[in-house]
């Protein structure tokens, strides 16, 4: 506090604190909006980057998370459809089998993929690894975990992870934070995922034991992701797959994106409201604080006018001080919001969540906002004061 006091023009400490509170509110609300935006955008990018296929009748929600079965023969048929560049069989299931099988936005998932097959998603060619390594062809008994998944359990590369059904995996990598679904993934080799599925589902084991329908391990897929060749319209290709390979539930990327946008419309409206609220609260707090600080010094301005200060000289002086005060208050507010955000996120991270995203654009905007609004408020107040005669300004200032 003493250090801050020394840096500021005398008498401005409470002004700076007032601005800091306004900017902190703006930044905190903005960071929550940024977090939601990034999450929705991440999901949108994902669904637009691949054609997702599940077994017939199961739908995207259940089929892709262990509710349905997409047999190997179907996957081979999909691969033969003109325009399909690659198909990756996948097993996806909730980490906690006691929870709903429906895909939720915040659910922790086990994803089984074949590392030998290139990621078919055009938007996520590979998931960035922060620590350790990605899965490799031939891996067994290893897992790569998402950033939130790792943080909520204190996992590091080299550690071990129990994924249920008595299976312990060695953690070989931790993904960078993507702020979308993969942050809560545990990614294992496809065969390991099939093992987990079999161990969890007694009915499935009985079906296998009975040799029903000539099923093999290769048929144990909850879904598949298809990539399209360059120049192919993904929506048209998805419809062609649906037409040419019977018994599938194919998602149309464009339609799914629209559906996702519609289903997240509430969140979009919410974050818009949060943003507007942040601007209004932060803006009012800041401009009110700066204006009040200038009006409080009306007597000083009267004295300076008596000593010969012109409108321009006073305005330059006030703007210079407002700049210093706004930058100090803005920086302090950003620091305050970062501290509060870090404290709250440290708490919610235990549940694998993150509430705030302090992006550089948000912090830059908050600082620019505080400086510009501070300058405008100071200009307004100064122009009001210079209209008064020096004696009147001194009288009003007491």
């Amino acid at each position: 506090m003493v250090a801050i006091r020394r840096l500021l023009p005398r008498g401005y400490l409470f002004t700076v604190l007032g601005i800091a509170v306004g900017v902190a509110g703006l930044v905190a609300l903005g960071a929550m909006a940024e977090r939601i935006t990034r999450f929705i955008d991440g999901g949108d990018r994902f669904v637009l980057g691949q054609i997702s296929v599940a077994g017939e009748g199961m739908g995207m929600g259940t089929g892709f998370t262990a509710g349905g079965l997409l047999r190997a023969a179907k996957i081979e048929q999909i691969a033969r459809v003109p325009g399909v560049a690659a198909v990756q069989a996948q097993v996806m299931m909730p980490l906690d089998p006691t929870t709903s099988q429906f895909l939720t936005l915040t659910q922790e998932l086990i994803l089984g993929v074949d590392p030998a097959v290139r990621m078919p998603n055009r938007e996520f060619r590979e998931l960035p690894v922060r620590e350790g390594r990605a899965l490799r062809a031939g891996d067994r008994g290893v897992v790569v975990v998402g950033a939130d998944f790792a943080a909520s359990r204190g996992l590091r590369a080299g550690g071990t992870l129990e994924l249920g059904a008595g299976r312990t995996f060695q953690v070989v990598g931790v993904l960078e934070k993507t702020l979308t679904a993969p942050d809560r993934f545990a990614i294992v080799p496809l065969d390991d995922a099939r093992d987990l599925w079999l161990r969890r589902d007694p009915l499935l084991v009985q079906v296998f034991a009975g040799g029903a329908g000539g099923m093999s391990r290769a048929d144990l897929n909850t879904g598949a992701a298809a990539a399209w060749a360059d120049g192919v319209d993904p929506d048209a290709l998805a419809r062609r797959i649906q037409r040419e390979v019977p018994g599938l539930n194919v998602t149309i990327p464009g339609e799914l994106s629209r559906l996702l946008r519609q289903s997240t419309a509430f969140f979009s409206a919410l974050l818009f409201g949060i943003g507007v609220l942040g601007l209004v609260i932060g803006g009012l707090s800041l401009s009110n604080t700066v204006t009040a600080a200038v009006f409080e010094r009306i007597r000083d301005f009267g004295i300076k006018r008596a000593l010969g200060a012109t409108d321009g000289q006073l305005l330059r002086e006030v703007l210079g001080e407002a700049l210093g005060v706004s930058i100090s208050g803005g920086a302090l507010g950003v620091g305050l919001a970062l501290a509060v955000g870090a404290l709250v996120d440290a708490r919610v991270l235990r549940d694998g969540q993150q509430l705030f995203l302090f992006s550089p654009r948000l912090l830059g905007f908050a600082l620019a906002f505080s400086v510009i609004l501070g300058g405008l408020a100071a200009t307004y107040a100064t122009l009001r004061i210079v209209r008064l005669s020096p004696a009147e300004a001194i009288r009003r200032g007491g």
Partner: protein
């Protein structure tokens, strides 16, 4: 500097919004180097007259001339220049800026007339030394006694060597000793620099030091006092 005021009239708005006339067509003339006291009962318009003469308040009617220039008709910006270069003010309540040190308060007078800071700083230190407040240069007004504050305010008023100094009850909050210092300084200004000084005062001893006393009553000038040889 010769100061002339013709038909100065000023009316304020009262608490009920009605007009409160304060000055009624006052004519004043002060010669260069003259020390004039303005006396009268409370509320007679002494301070208002001083504020009009110092361009701190605009008159409702009348003209103010400094030498050959009608300053009451100048633009706001030009009046700022006149205030900064030609007029010094000493107020009863000192009117120092709380956030500035004593030295910074004195130097404020030079800031708005674009005087080189090193020159102003040297002169400010000499002035403050002479008035006995140089050792208080780094102190803020709240850390100074009333006498010290008034001496700092006096240094600020005369730093730019203005040809006209207006003093509104400068000794009103001071004990006799400190009042004598300020009055002696004002007297010396007239004698040594040829500065015109207009002093609003209640104190008979202060008025007695003036060359002439103007008496105001209910916003009208009553009579011109006899001249005193300086």
């Amino acid at each position: 500097m010769v100061v002339r005021a013709l038909g100065l009239t000023k009316t304020f708005r009262g608490p009920d919004g009605g007009p409160v006339p304060v000055l009624h067509g006052v004519d004043v003339e002060v010669k260069a180097g003259e020390f004039v006291a303005v006396a009268g009962p409370s509320g007679c318009g002494k301070s208002t007259l001083l504020n009009l003469l110092g361009l701190l308040d605009p008159p409702d009617a009348g003209e103010i001339w400094l030498d050959e220039m009608c300053v009451s008709r100048l633009s706001r910006r030009a009046q700022c220049r006149v205030r900064g270069r030609s007029i010094g003010y000493v107020f009863q309540s000192f009117l120092l800026i709380a956030g500035l040190s004593a030295l910074e308060n004195v130097l404020l007078a030079a800031r708005y007339v674009d005087r080189p800071r090193p020159q102003a700083l040297a002169e400010a230190r000499v002035l403050m030394e002479r008035l006995g407040v140089a050792h208080r240069g780094d102190h803020y007004p709240a850390q100074l006694s009333g006498g010290e504050q008034q001496r700092v305010a006096y240094c600020r008023a005369v730093l730019n060597a203005p040809p006209l100094v207006l003093a509104d009850e400068p000794t009103g909050n001071l004990d006799d000793g400190h009042a004598a210092v300020i009055l002696a300084e004002l007297r010396a200004l007239c004698r040594e620099r040829g500065t015109s000084v207009i002093l609003v005062t209640h104190r008979a001893d202060a008025a007695a030091r003036a060359d002439r006393t103007l008496r105001l009553h209910s916003g009208r000038l009553e009579a011109q006092g006899g001249e005193r040889s300086s």
